[in-house]
Each structure stands twice: as structure tokens, then as C-alpha cells.
């Protein structure tokens, strides 16, 4: 079916402003869903919703943040519920208890960066990320992977800025903890 002039212009604009963010969306979707098929579906749904509502996107504003908001809403409304939210990741309380126990010992022993450099187990970082409970994983994805400001992340997640700030701080502690333990586990298995 032939498109009107307005439609083809919209299509072109979408292809220059929205589609270039597909790699970033795909990366985010992979860590949100932790599953290739679901990540594909989530990206398709996000792009299609964005296209349907593209006439309402204001050019010049941050298209990436807009797309991530759509993606997160789509994720929250279907995938997270379908998967049974915390099936794969450790529970938040479990992490907190472990981190508290750890910090009562000598904290300087656990420097994941040093451990990683020495052991060369870089792929553990992604595994550690995927083990985080959803709200902490998401905060880290938006700020450290997608480079959103706290304010943008707060708007994407529909939570106050203070919540982003505390989730991020805890997410980083959880990452340190998870990495340290993965590296130690590998080492003791190897020695």
C-alpha cells in the first residue's frame, strides 16, 4: 500500500533518530530478560511501540532515554511478570546479609578489580550483573551502560531520584560482592 508523504518522512526520521539506538536497546534487553528470544521480542515490541507513537516524540530531546522508557515499560508489563521476577537472581535480602557479613571482616581484602586483573576472568562481570535482583540490575544498566543521568533513570523507572541513587550504590556493592565470590570460587576450584 502506498504511503503518504507524511508517512515516508516519518519513516525516514525514525530510521535516523531511533533505529541507531538498536544496539544499545538490544544490550539492555539481553541483561533485562537474560534470554536471547525474549530480548529479540522486547526489542521488536519497543521499536514498534516507538514507531506508533513517534509523531509524539519531540525532535531534539533525548531519543535514547525515550526509547529506554518505552522498553522498560514494555518489560515491566509483560516479561518480568511472565518470567517470575526473581527466578534466576539471588534475593535482595540474601545479598544484603552476605554483604553485611563481609563488611564486618576486613573489607580491603576484597578488591574485585585486583582479583579480576590477576585472574583474567573478565566474563564474570556480565555474569555478576545478571545475578543482581531486577531493580538493582536495572539501575546499573541505565546509568553505567546507557549513560543516563540519575534524573533520566528516575523518569524511566518512575521512581524518585533518591531511589535511583540508593539502588545504584547498593548495586555496586552487590557487584563487588558477587565478583569477589566468583573469582574466589574459581580459584579454589582451580587450585
Amino acid at each position: 500500500m502506498a504511503m503518504g508523504a507524511g508517512d515516508s518522512q516519518k519513516r525516514k526520521q525514525f530510521e535516523t533518530e531511533a533505529l541507531p539506538h538498536l544496539d544499545l536497546l538490544f544490550t539492555t534487553a539481553m541483561h533485562l530478560t537474560r534470554n536471547r528470544d525474549d530480548a529479540d521480542d522486547l526489542c521488536q515490541e519497543t521499536m514498534l511501540r516507538a514507531y506508533r507513537f513517534f509523531h509524539q516524540y519531540s525532535p531534539g530531546t533525548d531519543c535514547r532515554a525515550w526509547l529506554l522508557t518505552i522498553m522498560y515499560n514494555a518489560f515491566r508489563s509483560s516479561y518480568s511478570r511472565r518470567q517470575g521476577r526473581e527466578q534466576l537472581s539471588a534475593s535482595t535480602q540474601e545479598f544484603e546479609r552476605a554483604i553485611d557479613a563481609e563488611s564486618n571482616q576486613n573489607a580491603s581484602q576484597a578488591d574485585p578489580q585486583q582479583l579480576l586483573i590477576r585472574s583474567g576472568l573478565d566474563e564474570d562481570v556480565e555474569k555478576a550483573l545478571d545475578s543482581l535482583p531486577e531493580e538493582f540490575r536495572t539501575a546499573l544498566l541505565l546509568v553505567d551502560v546507557n549513560d543516563l543521568s540519575y534524573a533520566q533513570a528516575a523518569q524511566t523507572l518512575d521512581v524518585p531520584i533518591g531511589t535511583v541513587r540508593s539502588r545504584l550504590s547498593r548495586a555496586r556493592s552487590m557487584m563487588r560482592y558477587a565478583l569477589t565470590h566468583m573469582v574466589r570460587a574459581r580459584r579454589s576450584a582451580g587450585s
Partner: protein, 271 residues
């Protein structure tokens, strides 16, 4: 500020450059006299850099790209029902009188041929009740939230809070945006209101997110909108993922629908 406070409450935001000026100052004064915390700050910076480096940006697979392009093609072909597509190419100010009349006729036919011409009221439904009360209040008095009285500002605020701008073009009905409000209800629920007014008529659009929503019983669906006759008002409910829009008005669905579809916000077959 002591070590523990710095590490637990400020460190992470510090390395992101997200401290307030007052916090920044307090942090500087602690760090200037504390070598341990300076070391922690350097470690945390290095850790953030490590995360960025070790979580690579993946390339979207080519077949995903192809699937998306194909979906956009299908959308271009089928986005708007043919009878509306014809009108939507006309400039608003030229095409509307005729378009509205023709579209209204189409919907009258749809209503007449539907087995239930009038949807039964759903007395006491909490969602409809809240929407009706909001409308009756807004009809009497509506004060836009600060920074929410232009279409652009409201569109930005709605996008940030609900994922889409949810701005409608009701100018064909003689209605223009009077302003918006984004508020938390007492239960913490975030709700956005946008009021369109003119010619003694008004439409209040209410956006909210409801994860486990089911449509109120009764009503009937037309072009993706479920309409309810409620306390003398018409309430149209549309679902966009987890976000729901309620359109509350004294106008009939036949009057309102062509403008809604013309606005481009309705996805035919979404019900």
C-alpha cells in the same frame, strides 16, 4: 561526615557527579583530611570504569534488524484504517468538516449494527467512579501544574512518566489543551490529567499505570476504545501496555472517536 557516611551515602553518587552542591562541599572537606576515603573514591572510580569496559555493547543480530524493518513496513501499510487514512492526509484546517461528518456517519452505523446499542452502566465501579469524580471536579475548576501548561512541557512530562506523550489533537472538536497535572494519589499511584476545553465542552484525559488491570465490566469496544456510559458521562478506556488512558466527557463516542483516531494514538485492534 565520617567514613561510614561517606561510603554508604555519598561515594556512589560522588563518582557519578550527582551530588548536590552542598553535598559536594561536605564531601570535599571530608576527603581533604581523609586519605582512606580518597583511596576508596579512586577504587570506586576504577570499578565503575571496569564495569563499563567489561559490559560490552552488543551488536543487534541482523535478523532482529530485518524483523524490525519488516514490522515497520507492515505498520506503514496497516497503521490507519483506510477510511481514516484518507482524511488524515488532508491538512487539518481544510479537511475536518467533511471528514468529521463522514467519520461520524461510520461510527453511527457501527453503533446501530452492534447488538447492544447502549452499554449498561456499571454502577459503583471504583475505576469509573474515580474517573467520573475527577472529571466533575476538573469541569468545575482545573489549575494546571507548574510547568505543565504548554503542550511541549506536558508531552515531555508524560513521556518521562508514562513512556508516551499522550497528547491529543481535539482541535477538530473546537477543544484545545487547557493544561495538565501530574500528581500522586494518596495511595502513591501516579496520575496524569490533561484537560481539553472549548465551545462549552471538555474532555479530561487521565493516564495511570495499572499492572493488573482488567477493563470494568460492560461497555462496548470501538476502534480500540472501550466506552462506558456512567453517571451521565461517557468514559472511554484505552490500554497501552501497563498504562491506561481514560477519556471522560459529556460528548458521545461518535463525536469524540474521529478526533481520537485522527490524533494517531489509537492502534486499531488493540482490544
Amino acid at each position: 561526615m565520617d567514613h561510614r557516611q561517606y561510603i554508604e551515602q555519598y561515594l556512589s553518587a560522588d563518582i557519578d557527579g550527582e551530588l548536590s552542591p552542598a553535598e559536594s562541599q561536605a564531601v570535599s572537606s571530608h576527603l581533604s583530611s581523609c586519605a582512606d576515603c580518597r583511596q576508596r573514591q579512586a577504587d570506586e572510580r576504577a570499578f565503575k570504569a571496569l564495569l563499563r569496559q567489561q559490559i560490552p555493547i552488543l551488536s543487534a543480530p541482523p535478523e532482529l534488524r530485518r524483523k524490525i524493518v519488516a514490522a515497520l513496513d507492515r505498520e506503514d501499510a496497516a497503521r490507519v484504517p483506510p477510511q481514516v487514512r484518507r482524511f488524515s492526509r488532508l491538512p487539518l484546517w481544510l479537511g475536518w468538516a467533511g471528514a468529521a461528518a463522514a467519520a461520524a456517519a461510520i461510527f453511527v452505523v457501527v453503533l446501530m449494527s452492534s447488538p447492544r446499542r447502549h452499554s449498561p452502566p456499571s454502577p459503583g465501579n471504583p475505576a469509573l467512579e474515580a474517573a467520573a469524580n475527577d472529571y466533575l471536579k476538573a469541569e468545575h475548576e482545573f489549575v494546571p501544574g507548574s510547568g505543565l501548561n504548554t503542550q511541549t512541557d506536558l508531552a515531555n512530562a508524560l513521556t518521562m512518566n508514562f513512556g508516551y506523550p499522550f497528547i491529543w489533537d481535539f482541535s477538530s472538536l473546537g477543544l484545545n489543551l487547557a493544561g495538565g497535572q501530574i500528581v500522586h494519589r494518596p495511595d502513591g499511584q501516579l496520575v496524569a490529567y490533561s484537560l481539553y476545553k472549548g465551545k462549552g465542552q471538555s474532555i479530561l484525559c487521565i493516564n495511570l499505570r495499572q499492572m493488573d488491570f482488567s477493563f470494568p465490566p460492560g461497555g462496548h469496544a470501538l476502534h480500540g476504545v472501550r466506552f462506558y456510559r456512567y453517571r451521565g458521562l461517557w468514559i472511554g478506556v484505552v490500554n497501552y501496555g501497563s498504562v491506561f488512558c481514560y477519556f471522560v466527557t459529556r460528548m458521545s463516542p461518535q463525536q469524540m472517536l474521529p478526533a481520537l483516531i485522527h490524533s494517531g494514538g489509537l492502534n486499531p485492534g488493540s482490544l
